[in-house]
């Protein structure tokens, strides 16, 4: 039994290391491309396509005004940019926040009965005639140059969608600082996946599509509360190219407390698992390139490997703590300083492999922070992330897997 467990651990560590090495190779391949994008993309645009941004709102009275203002402040020709705000049957003061924008030439306000985010988006999509269409969640804000940085990617006629880099808006709590680092990791990952043609999410905050995508593939679906994930997988299934613009920054308000974060992440993980089940024909299918052959299988397996490693760690620690308590009960508190003898340092293969994986994780994390912030600086968020994140992730993974296996429904908020 112990041998099987060790073998499983070796396999998981091999996959983890392989993925990290693969990411780093990809990074070194595209490094010059990244520099070029940062310096030149969005500077000399010759053709400005018409763009419509949809803002679906449901009880977003606190942030929606700022969201709309950030869109109006976009550095983009006014006559080429329009905004459609869809109130999805809000029960708070969201609707009243729109009064001041009612007569704005760039803004149209629509209202409908509550039906979920995908229905609000589809309600607006029916009325769109622009070249490009995007969505911006009502708890997110765009940088003024975000659209300018994204539009040039559509010069490639094969590009059907462009995703931005999402950053945490004004982090205050420890959890938000952790999410800030996590989002940096996400920015790095998405940019690498973009180079591999393997993006599997077109995030709600400010992903831009060619309007014809919706005419050809249909509108948004409920998709287990993760319509942005399903849309990306649908694009991938039809070989529609999705790219990422790491220089286009969008800020989003992230959960302040654990309960909200937990619900959000359960929804994301549950949505991911159920959507990949729906799109299982992509798995290990060479026809779909990196996403089918490598990225989706590894993203799915990472959920289970994280749970396995977390379970094993809890189990081992349980025995260590239980032994400590037994010792305490028998001989009382008798603290001996830890031995400095090298003999008692764990020199197992697993320790060296785990150490290698940790070092590679730290290297990637530093590159991710450099890519996001322009330079790497040590912040308290990094310490929070390293000390806390690994302990909280398994909590929502286990809940999402449980809900998927036992077909339990999960809630949006």
């Amino acid at each position: 039994m112990a041998e099987i467990q060790t073998l499983i651990l070796y396999c998981l560590l091999f996959i983890t290391l392989f993925f990290e090495v693969f990411l780093l190779i990809t990074y070194f391949e595209v490094r010059e491309e990244l520099d070029f994008e940062s310096k030149h993309v969005g500077k000399h645009i010759k053709w400005f396509p018409t763009v419509t941004i949809i803002v679906p709102c449901f009880n977003e009275e606190r942030t929606v005004e700022k969201t709309i203002r950030s869109l109006l402040d976009l550095d983009y020709p006014k006559e080429k940019l329009s905004i459609i705000i869809v109130d999805d049957g809000s029960t708070d003061e969201t609707l009243s926040r729109f009064v001041q924008f009612a007569k704005h030439p760039q803004i149209a306000v629509l209202s409908k009965e509550n039906g979920g985010k995908h229905t609000a988006l589809n309600f607006a999509l029916e009325r769109i005639e622009s070249d490009l269409v995007g969505c911006l969640d009502a708890d997110s804000f765009v940088n003024a140059d975000a659209l300018r940085k994204m539009v040039p990617f559509f010069d490639d006629i094969g590009t059907m969608a462009v995703t931005p880099s999402i950053k945490v808006y004004s982090p205050r709590s420890i959890l938000q600082h952790i999410q800030k680092i996590e989002y940096s990791w996400g920015i790095f990952l998405r940019r690498m996946l973009s180079s591999l043609g393997a993006l599997y999410v077109t995030p709600g905050p400010f992903s831009i599509f060619r309007t014809r995508v919706f005419r050809e593939l249909g509108g948004y679906r409920h998709a287990h509360h993760t319509e942005d994930l399903e849309m990306a997988l649908r694009l991938q299934k039809h070989h529609y190219k999705i790219v990422n613009s790491h220089g286009a920054h969008v800020y989003t308000v992230t959960p302040l407390r654990f309960s909200a974060l937990f619900k959000q992440r359960v929804r994301w993980t549950y949505g991911f698992l159920n959507n990949v089940i729906d799109y299982r024909e992509l798995f290990f299918n060479r026809k779909y390139g990196h996403i089918g052959l490598f990225i989706l299988p590894i993203a799915t397996s990472s959920i289970f490997s994280t749970l396995y490693i977390a379970g094993r760690t809890v189990w081992n620690n349980f025995f260590s703590i239980s032994s400590m308590l037994t010792k305490l009960q028998i001989v009382g508190w008798n603290w001996n300083p830890p031995s400095l003898d090298w003999f008692f340092i764990n020199t197992s293969v697993v320790s060296f492999l785990a150490l290698s994986a940790i070092i590679l994780t730290l290297v990637i994390l530093s590159l991710a922070i450099r890519l996001t912030e322009g330079k790497f600086t040590i912040t308290r968020g990094i310490f929070y992330y390293l000390a806390i994140y690994i302990f909280i992730v398994p909590l929502w993974l286990i809940r999402a897997v449980f809900s998927t296996v036992f077909r339990r429904q999960i809630s949006w908020k």
């Binding site: 112990a2 190779i25 020199t347 197992s348 293969v349 060296f352």
Partner: protein, 231 residues
């Protein structure tokens, strides 16, 4: 379009990391076993030295026995072997060999100790402890804590621990001499057998040798306190 070269490169680098981890771990494992082996050699030499000294003592007196007469490193081997047993990367055959040597060294040390106590009229302060690693023995783990605590409390106490089921003829002989039943953990203290778990307090109050050690420790403590007061 899949770039297979990238997969092959990533696979090769990962394989190199894996290979290096296995190589380095084996290297350290080997070093650890060599470390135990080196201590065993030193202990064997210590015992040989003590035996020689003992033989010389036949002609002289017990007063010549110095504080370093018995090897102090037996405990260190025990700790290392216990730790090494939980390390999967160590060679099992080498570990078995080292354990066998350790048990034999313990027995030799014990016999020397016994002869010494008989000749010099010293009250014996040693415990033969039999445990099991073959079957689940929760009380053995608990008894181990008690004996470690006792050894820390009384540095003169020598505890010889033996794996009851380990295939060493000398252990079987010890078991038959003291008629140790397979009800583990078992302690042999001055020829008397104690089975099952016993706390520090229980042993200190029931075992004469430990009572004596406790008394000596109290006397020494009082003496230290008096000296401090006088100062």
């Amino acid at each position: 379009m899949i770039n297979l070269k990238k997969y092959i490169a990533a696979l090769s680098i990962t394989a190199v990391i894996f290979g290096t981890a296995i190589y380095v771990s084996n290297l350290f494992g080997q070093k650890k076993l060599e470390d135990v082996h080196a201590i065993e050699n030193r202990v064997a030499l210590d015992i040989l030295s003590s035996e020689t000294q003992f033989m010389l003592l036949e002609e002289t007196s017990c007063k010549d026995i110095g504080p370093g007469f018995l090897s102090k490193e037996l405990g260190s081997i025990g700790e290392r072997l216990t730790y090494a047993e939980n390390q999967t990367e160590l060679n099992t055959n080498d570990l078995e060999y080292l354990k066998r040597s350790y048990f034999l060294l313990e027995i030799k040390d014990y016999l020397l100790m016994k002869r010494l106590t008989e000749k010099c009229g010293i009250k014996p302060t040693f415990i033969l402890y039999f445990y099991s690693t073959k079957d689940v023995c929760e009380d053995c783990e608990r008894m181990g804590y008690v004996l470690t605590a006792l050894r820390n409390k009384y540095p003169d106490l020598r505890v010889y621990s033996f794996d009851y089921n380990f295939d060493v003829g000398a252990i079987d002989t010890l078991v038959s001499i003291y008629k140790v039943r397979p009800e583990l953990p078992a302690l042999i203290i001055n020829g008397l057998s104690y089975y099952g778990f016993h706390s520090v307090e229980e042993l200190e109050s029931t075992v004469p040798a430990l009572k004596e050690l406790a008394r000596r420790a109290r006397v020494a403590e009082r003496a230290t306190t008096s000296v401090k007061t006088l100062d």
